[in-house]
Symmetry: C2
Subunit: 89 residues, 2 copies
Amino acid sequence: MDATFRALADPTRREILKALRERDLNAGDIGARFSITGASISHHLNVLKEAGLVLAERDGRNIIYSLNSTVFQQFVEELLGFFEVGGDK
Amino acid sequence: MDATFRALADPTRREILKALRERDLNAGDIGARFSITGASISHHLNVLKEAGLVLAERDGRNIIYSLNSTVFQQFVEELLGFFEVGGDK
DNA sequence: CCATCATTTAGATAGTTGTCTAAATGATGT
DNA sequence: ACATCATTTAGACAACTATCTAAATGATGG
């Protein structure tokens, strides 16, 4: 849960996730949407990957990133349980 | 949304929120549950307050903190909308 | 193989944040 | 008023993080 929170706490990473909602994208395509270097994008993608929020798969020269919506859904559910009496997730 | 994420990204602050689920608590009671100084607790409470996640009310010498569940619920709902097609919150 | 393209890794730097100690503020009861 | 209790504020410091540039890795096509 901590990794997920840390990953989602950054606005750039949330934008990346938003972009990936539409379709899978390679690192370059993602980078093209932001005015930061590819290296920085790579860093963000790594954080998202470690949190399990995205999946990476190599396709030739490119690496294609996709959402792992399962992890996201689980996260939201845990969060929902937060305010229920006796809930102790 | 950004303030909420930042606020929730810290484990100590999430523990504070958990404690406040049970009952309202003053700053001292909250501090007693952690092994950090009162000053640090005060800092965390301030972050939570700025995010709108807790409310503070003075009662004599004490300041009583309580959850603002409305803000939390809104946050979770926004988050839920994140993966819905066309949703653009 | 080699030049090139796509991405990551390494190392540096500036800004942010969690923590501390010490001092200030606010409220109370005598 | 004053001593005391509860909390916050100020200032400092270490750890972390987002970003950069430069170099390294991995894959492709000729």
